[in-house]
């Protein structure tokens, strides 16, 4: 449950509602579908949020369209009709999530009972999950816990080298590419990926989640509660490692996992990282000859909590030099020490006034954030340079599926930073 110490202008926060977060977890299971018991307005908003990452969400995300009388008379009629439509359509979802929006979660309908009465020929899970629950992370977590509570198999035994990845989402910006790179690195190191719930694993894989020897928590705001629950239920240990940005960052990340559960081929990944580092250094030397070293006086980095802190660490330690680095976390994360190089770490909600002031005074900064933050600076008419690392992203096009994380991601983000820097240098020439 989220709680805020300050109110603050909503224009300085980036989030969406728990309805979207819960749907995102379930939509991360192939062929799973979602039925929203809530107003069309909430449905379309969540759909638009999800469609940024998966263009076919319209076919998997449905609404009951209750009218306003449903608040008084209940939603059973609308829900039953929507479920009948789904059955008549011949669709056979691998899993159906039926979720109440916030207002409909208050009227006391027996959601699970109504759905059970329909005797659906496929598995389902029901949830109260609207804005009252919180934002994306709270919804994602609530759905994850509900799915595992209902479907995780108690009888399976852990297998050697098996790990689960917790807290990944295809609906984070570039999420699919990041997930694939993490799986590639861990597999190369010798781990066997048992399940990545909410990010590509089938319901069958999720059912066998207890086969893992170790749970690896990547985005803490999404995966930590899940790891704690699995430890309690199956005694599976977990390690909170964050996201692997940069080459050194990736090595450190993998080392922490190795310490928790040793792997056979750690060196293979390290060798790949070293080779990549040498290649990038040579290439960068070439560009430095023309443009000098990467430098920004001020950098603001704003993203989901874990991502913001982990990326900040690689940004300053590996990619570019700067005068001042301010990190804005869209969620408070505190179970691991991801970043010791930021000059200031602010948390939305807690530090609303300071964040507002920061954007009021920002000029000539490098902004690693989303189109929400860039729109704030554009409206002020100040010069800045940006590189989107989070949704929403309206002012940048990302078509390739190259990750931000891992060894491949290190080259990708460094390339983007260089291109921003070259543009900056050229803009300054035009001004003269």
């Amino acid at each position: 449950m989220y709680s805020n110490n300050q109110w603050g202008n909503i224009c300085h926060r980036v989030d969406c509602c728990a309805l979207s977060g819960a749907a995102a977890f379930v939509a991360g299971i192939p062929d799973a579908e979602i039925l929203v018991n809530g107003p069309l307005w909430c449905y379309f908003y969540a759909l638009r949020t999800l469609e940024h990452a998966k263009y076919d969400m319209g076919e998997r995300f449905h609404d009951c369209q209750p009218d306003n009388n449903a608040i008084v008379y209940g939603t059973e009629k609308f829900l039953t009709e929507a479920l009948k439509r789904l059955l008549d359509s011949g669709r056979k979802p691998a899993l159906l999530l039926v979720e109440n929006s916030c207002s409909l979660s208050l009227i006391g309908d027996d959601l699970a009972g109504i759905v059970r009465k329909m005797e659906l020929p496929y598995p389902f899970v029901t949830l109260d999950c609207g804005g009252l629950v919180g934002g994306f992370a709270e919804g994602y977590t609530k759905a994850a816990l509900a799915v595992l509570k209902k479907f995780a198999d108690e009888k399976v035994e852990p297998l050697e080298n098996n790990v689960n990845l917790l807290g990944l989402s295809d609906f984070y910006y570039n999420g699919v590419a990041d997930r694939n790179e993490i799986i590639r690195l861990l597999t190369k190191a010798g781990y066997k990926i048992n399940a990545v719930p909410g990010a590509g694993s089938s319901l069958e894989d999720v059912q066998e989640i207890a086969r893992a020897k170790l749970n690896i928590v990547c985005n803490e705001e999404l995966g930590l509660q899940l790891a704690q629950c699995l430890e309690k239920r199956f005694a599976t240990p977990y390690v909170v490692v964050g996201m692997p940005y940069g080459i050194e960052g990736t090595k450190n990340w993998l080392t922490r996992i190795h310490e928790a559960l040793p792997c056979e081929n750690l060196q293979a990944v390290f060798d790949e990282g070293t080779a990549q580092m040498e290649r990038l250094t040579a290439k960068e030397n070439d560009y430095r000859g023309v443009w000098g070293s990467l430098w920004f006086d001020k950098v603001i980095l704003s993203a989901a909590g874990t991502q913001a802190l982990c990326m900040a660490q690689a940004l300053r330690n590996e990619w570019l030099d700067m005068g001042e680095l301010t990190v804005i976390c869209q969620h408070e994360v505190k179970s691991a020490d991801y970043c010791e190089v930021a000059d200031k770490v602010l948390v939305t909600g807690k530090d609303a006034d300071e964040i507002e002031k920061l954007f009021q005074n920002a000029e000539d900064v490098l902004l690693l954030a989303s189109s929400s933050e860039t729109s704030n600076l554009r409206r002020r008419g100040v010069r800045f340079y940006s590189c989107n690392i989070a949704y929403p992203s309206a002012d940048e096009v990302l078509l390739t599926e190259t990750p931000f994380v891992g060894i491949k991601g290190a080259a990708h983000l460094l390339e983007r930073l260089w291109n921003v820097y070259v543009k900056k240098q050229m803009d300054e020439q035009v001004d003269k």
Partner: protein
């Protein structure tokens, strides 16, 4: 609730608070970001930023204990931080279900802080849709801030939203009116500072940014109310949607504002502009096979202006496909409307499949599944005036110029 926000979104001096979970405010913020980038994509620059938007951030516990105390704390914060000249409160569905009385809080705060507080008697989707909130706030602004005054000749105020002063509708009518020697003094609601708001009743006339649909009906009621209270002139049922209507609108505006000769000059200039553009487009568009797909109710669709564009570009309209989205009752209504202007065959969704495959361009109100079709998406709010019509034609022209083998969807 987003309607409440939209009615004052760019009125400096106002602060908006949603008595809602935080996520509801993010919906308005998402609309705000989209508006910003759409304007930019259209090559237009926003002239002002949106006003602060706060949420009382209701949580689960408030559904039991109520959220009024939280709302009051949020209001106190907003007043201290932003020093607003007016506070606008919107109630969410959650606030409505748990029975929080936002109007009572508004009255209390107004007395305590000696500050105008405007709220609506509605709670999210429990009491209607976007425009219920939008118009209720608008009427309350009228009652509180506007008063009759002497009208200044050749000045107008724009009524409605359509993307604001930097949106296509407002910029196009402002361009034409300026050529006629008429000054636009503001756009109401939403796009004028609170300090300048009373000035709008000095305008000689209102120009309604209207067209079709629920919004338009709401705008018509609003316009009548403004006329009754302040004696504005306005044109009823004439909007510059489509080329024919645009020409009529210019003539009628000339009569309304006593500048008929100037209007005639402008009309001739606009006709020259259209002829010049058409000369370029026709070299490519003439005799190309087109199919029109309609899945939108008649109240949101302009068959006359659409068919006008097809005729002007001399496209070979092979037929019209009425999509499944157009439910039975609305199907016959649409056929009747189309038959006033054309006798081309009209098909239902399935029967029209062959036509789609043969078309060089498909003009459609809904995205079609077939990724090989070259589709032009017809917007709910068509672009207006001479330049709007030319931009629309240019989109069709460019699609027909394309040598790409694959299809895709292009927005107007």
């Amino acid at each position: 609730m987003p309607g409440v926000w939209r009615a004052v979104a760019y009125m400096d001096g106002v602060v908006v608070i949603f008595h809602s979970p935080r996520a509801c405010a993010h919906i308005a913020r998402t609309m705000d970001i989209n508006t910003h980038y759409r304007a930019m994509g259209d090559g237009r620059k926003e002239e002002r930023a949106s006003v602060p938007l706060l949420s009382s951030q209701l949580e689960e516990k408030h559904s039991i204990f109520g959220g009024i105390d939280r709302l009051k704390k949020c209001i106190a914060y907003a007043i201290e931080k932003y020093d607003p000249k007016c506070l606008v409160l919107g109630g969410s569905c959650v606030a409505g279900v748990i029975g929080d009385d936002v109007e009572a809080v508004a009255k209390e705060v107004e007395e305590e802080y000696n500050l105008p507080v405007i709220t609506v008697d509605s709670y999210g989707f429990l009491d209607g849709e976007f425009f219920e909130g939008y118009f209720e706030i608008t009427y309350k602004l009228i009652d509180r801030y506007l008063y009759p005054q002497e009208h200044i000749p050749k000045t107008v105020v724009l009524i409605g939203d359509n993307g604001g002063p930097w949106g296509h509708y407002a910029t196009e009518v402002t361009r034409i009116l300026k050529a006629m020697g008429v000054t636009v003094i503001g756009q109401f609601p939403g796009y004028i500072t609170l300090a300048d708001l009373p000035k709008i009743t000095s305008a000689e006339a209102m120009v309604v940014l209207g067209g079709k649909g629920n919004t338009h009906e709401g705008l018509e009621c609003l316009t009548k109310r403004l006329q009754e209270k302040f004696g504005f002139k306005f044109l009823q049922d004439v909007y510059p949607v489509g080329w024919e209507r645009t020409q009529q609108w210019i003539v009628e505006m000339g009569k309304l504002l006593n500048c008929e000769e100037k209007a005639e000059e402008v009309l001739q200039a606009e006709r020259l502009l259209m002829e010049k553009s058409l000369a370029q487009f026709l070299s490519v568009t003439k005799s190309k096979k087109a199919t029109l797909c309609i899945g939108r109710w008649l109240m949101y669709f302009h068959p006359e202006s659409m068919l006008g564009v097809i005729n002007a570009l001399e496209l070979d309209l092979q037929g019209i496909v009425l999509l499944d989205a157009l439910e039975a009752g609305y199907f016959d209504e649409m056929v009747g409307a189309l038959r006033k202007y054309t006798d081309v065959p009209i098909y239902s969704n399935l029967d029209g499949e062959r036509l789609l495959k043969e078309a060089d361009v498909v003009l459609t109100t809904h995205e079609l599944q077939d990724k090989n079709l070259k589709q032009v998406f017809l917007p709910m709010l068509p672009k207006v005036g001479t330049l709007g019509e030319i931009e629309f034609m240019q989109v069709i022209y460019r699609v027909l110029c394309s040598k790409h083998k694959g299809g895709g969807l292009v927005y107007v």
